[in-house]
Each structure stands twice: as C-alpha cells, then as structure tokens.
C-alpha cells in the first residue's frame, strides 16, 4: 500500500488532509483537515446540509472523497485500497435510522458480520453478541426482530452490533435525532459509558449536554467547511466565529 501522505504520529487513528468532496458540481466538503487520536472523542455539529454526514461517511468510504488524503490507522483510503472491508471492520458506524437488518433477530444481527467478516466461530460470535447486548442492557430482546423493539432499543442494538466487531473507532451520525425524547437518554447513556471506557468516537450530534460532558473537542461545520474547532468549554462559552455564535444561539434558545 502506497502512502503518499507524511506519516502521522502512531496514535493518530483518523487523519483527513485537505479533503474535498463534490456531488457533481456541488461541493459538499471544502478543504477538511481533521486529526483524531486514539481515545479521543470528537463531537461534530452544524446546520442541516453542512456536510457532517458526508464527512463521517468519507471516513469509512461510504462516500468517496474527490481529493485530499484520508488515512485510517495508517492506511490511506484510495481507489487502490484492496480491502476496504478490512478497514471498515475497524471503523464502526451507527446511523440515524438504526438500519438494523429487518429480517434477522437481534442476535443474528449481531452475529452476522462477526461470522462473515471476522470468521468467528458460531459459539464465540453468540457469546460476544450476548456480552454486548448486556452492555447495552437489553439481553432479553435477543430473539426478537427489530420491529418489535422501540426506537431507543433498536439504536442500542445498532451500537452493540458495531461493538461486536471490536472496532478501533466508532462513528455516530445523529444517533438520537430519530428518537422520541424519552428514549434519547437511554442511548446517550450507552454512548457515555462507551466514552468512559476509552473508545475513540466521532459523533455528529446536537445533544449539547453530551458534548459538554464527553467531548474532547467540538467541531462546527457550515457549508462544507470546518468553521470552528475548540474544547467544549471554549466552544460553548466563547465561540469565536460569527456563524458558530448564530448557530449556538439558535439551538440553545429553543
């Protein structure tokens, strides 16, 4: 694997350098530079359409960036990356709409990728699955189908499913925005626990309480650019950029 970009420090898991992304003529990402070290928790926020999803989808190559460099755990994402799936299994992802496999029980949802990608034995996959279901506090739902669970439970299953792959990093794309208010906390709790255990996380969310208590850095995006990047205290109390101030005043007052 050719690595054109200069080597980052060993504990850097995600490195984005001058990344641009176009959809046709529309530029969704403009000169994105981001570095995430092992164990860091990053919260990304910004108005709808600002490119947050596009950015984190580029990190596991659900979208292909147009130019610039993205290096995940020392491997650069290029067309030539032979085994993108080897990289993807180190990068877990949790979606806004859960995206559980509807035709499989919860347990099967958790076992499928372990069996196919990690080539784990059935018994071991089941054990791992049950372990993480307990971690997200719903082991009793193992034999149900996704539709039989509430939204909050489904999202916790989705987190457990990502954890079963023992990833280095987990990406969250607005994991609580599709949830009824009373279910948001059960998901945030799981995420907070995960953060405490030292998981590397990049999390698109507008849950400011979560950002304050968990994030090492908050990133504000607007119109495809990273406008501001700061520690949570500074970010909320002393935003530098005008656009950040406007955004914060909007979400904090409502």
């Amino acid at each position: 694997m050719t690595n054109i970009a200069p080597a980052a420090s060993p504990e850097t898991l995600i490195q984005m350098k001058s990344v641009n992304k176009y959809f046709g003529n529309f530029q969704a990402l403009k000169n994105i530079n981001l570095e995430v070290k092992k164990g860091e928790k990053i919260v990304v926020c910004g108005p709808s359409g600002s490119g947050k999803s596009t950015m984190i989808r580029c990190i596991n190559r659900l979208e292909e960036h147009t130019d610039g460099h993205i290096i995940i755990d020392g491997n650069e994402l290029t067309d030539k990356v032979k085994d993108i799936n080897a990289i993807r299994r180190e990068v877990g992802m949790v979606f806004q709409s859960f995206n559980l496999f509807p035709h499989m029980t919860i347990l099967k949802n958790l076992m499928l990728a372990q069996r196919l990608v990690r080539k784990t034995s059935k018994a071991e996959a089941r054990e791992t699955a049950m372990h993480f279901l307990e971690r997200v506090k719903i082991p009793e739902q193992a034999d149900k189908y996704p539709v039989q669970l509430s939204g909050g439970q489904q999202q916790r299953v989705a987190i457990a499913r990502a954890l079963c792959m023992k990833p280095e990093i987990i990406l969250f794309d607005e994991p609580t925005s599709a949830l009824d208010p009373e279910m948001i906390n059960e998901v945030l709790e799981v995420m907070t626990d995960l953060a405490k255990e030292g998981m590397t996380m990049v999390c698109v969310t507008h849950e400011m309480g979560f950002a304050r208590s968990v994030a090492d850095r908050v990133i504000f995006m607007d119109a495809g650019e990273i406008v501001e990047e700061a520690e949570p205290e500074d970010f909320f109390l002393n935003p530098q950029n005008e656009r950040t101030q406007k955004f914060l005043s909007q979400i904090l007052t409502h």
Binding site: N60, L62, N85, A86, R88, R89, V91, G92, M93, F95, S97, N99, L100, F101, P102, H103, M104, L112, A113, L116, V117, Q141, K144, Y145, P146, V147, Q148, L149, S150, Q153, A158, R161, A162, M165
Partner: protein, 233 residues
C-alpha cells in the same frame, strides 16, 4: 337456462384427467422461469452493457407480445428452419409439450425478473450501508441482505404472476395438448354444451387459484413475521 347436471357430473372427472398435465406445465415452467428470471436479473444489475442489454431486450419482447403468439412462433414457427430441425434441441421442439414449457418459461421469466428487480430496488439503502460499514463484501451483502429482503418484497407480486402462469397453461390446448382446457374443448365440440362444461372448468380453475393464493398467503405471513410488530416491547 336448464343445466344438464348429469353431463357435468360425467365431464368433471374427464377434465380432471388433464390436471396432471396442467400441473406439469405449471410447475416445470414456474421453476425454470424462476431460474431464468434470476439470471436475467443478475444480467441486468451486472453493470455490464453486454449482459444487461440482452436481458432487457428479452424482457421487452416477452412482455410486449401476447403469450399465444410466443407459443405459435415456437411451436409452428421454429420448424420452418432446417438448422432447428437438425439441432440437438429438435426432440424437445418437435413436441408440443416441450414447446409449451419453453414458451411459458421464457414468458414468465421475463415478468418474474421485473418483479424481482422491484424487490431488489425496494431494499432499504440504509440496511445495505450498515452491511458495508460492518465490512461485508458486495457479494455477502447481496446473499445475506438483498436476497432475503427482496424475496419477501417480491412475494405478493410473484404470487399474482404464478396465478397468471397457471391460467396461461390453458393455452397449451391451442397446440394440441390435452390439458384440462383441451379436454373441455373436445367435450364441448361433441356435446355442444358450453355453459355446463366451461363453467365447471372455470370453477375448477378458481378453486386452484384459491388454493395457490392461500398457500402464498401462508408463506408471506411466515416471511413477514419480522414486519408486523406483535407484542411490542
């Protein structure tokens, strides 16, 4: 109108002697048609023009023309060519049964392929992305996610097509095969009692339709166990 019930009682067993042939035509072409449909679908979604093109042409032609014309072209038309008569397929194409199976297969394959495509297109993109994000390969996503989900989505439309296929088997009677419809036509030409015979036969077909619909309904219900929320937690 006075119905000749004696004639009906006499004729129904005679017509039912053709049910074996009806079933042979139905099940054989349904299975072969399904295989063809999957092949056509794979060709269409292969992303290679030299595969997807022929598949699309096949579908366009066989959905755009009457099945009766297809049957006639294959049974009466193909023997016009000497190379067909000399080919290894001649033993099949010489027989009306082989021609009927071929025509029904090519026809239903085209329709079912479109149904399956609808199912594949109906699979939630997010689910496939979740598979990709977990590291599943393209092939694994297809086998473990797309196929089972698309199969369930396609089932209602497929069951309708299966019924259509059953009805189409009756056209085999136009190329000398004696299925139920063929027998009924013979009886009518001898007795000239179209009401008694054709209505009895229609009822037999309706019963078959009902049985198949119920069966497919069962399968659908089983496959949909994960769709309807029951005992929501």
């Amino acid at each position: 109108m006075i119905f000749d019930f004696e004639l009906i009682a006499d004729s129904i067993p005679k017509m039912l002697m053709g049910i074996g042939l009806t079933f042979q035509l139905l099940f054989l072409s349904a299975i072969l048609g399904l295989i063809l449909a999957v092949l056509l679908l794979l060709m269409r979604i292969s992303g290679k023009w030299y595969l997807s093109w022929p598949a699309q042409v096949h579908i366009y032609i066989f959905r755009g023309t009457p099945i009766l014309v297809q049957i006639f072209i294959i049974y009466y038309g193909l023997p016009q060519f000497e190379f067909i008569r000399d080919s290894i397929f001649w033993p099949i194409l010489r027989e009306p049964f082989g021609c009927a199976i071929l025509a029904l297969t090519l026809n239903t394959g085209a329709y079912v392929s479109e149904i399956l495509r609808g199912g594949v297109l109906g699979v939630d993109r997010g689910v496939l992305e979740a598979g990709a994000a977990l590291g599943l390969s393209v092939r694994q996503k297809f086998i473990y996610l797309t196929v089972p989900i698309a199969a369930r989505l396609s089932l209602p439309a497929y069951s309708n097509d299966f019924i259509s296929l059953m009805k189409a088997t009756s056209l085999a009677s136009t190329i000398t095969l004696v299925d139920m419809t063929g027998i009924a036509r013979t009886i009518v030409s001898q007795t000239f009692a179209p009401y008694e015979i054709f209505i009895s036969l229609a009822i037999i077909y309706m019963i078959l339709t009902w049985v198949f619909q119920k069966t497919f309904g069962r399968i659908e219900k089983y496959l949909s166990r994960y769709v309807k929320p029951e005992g929501l937690a």
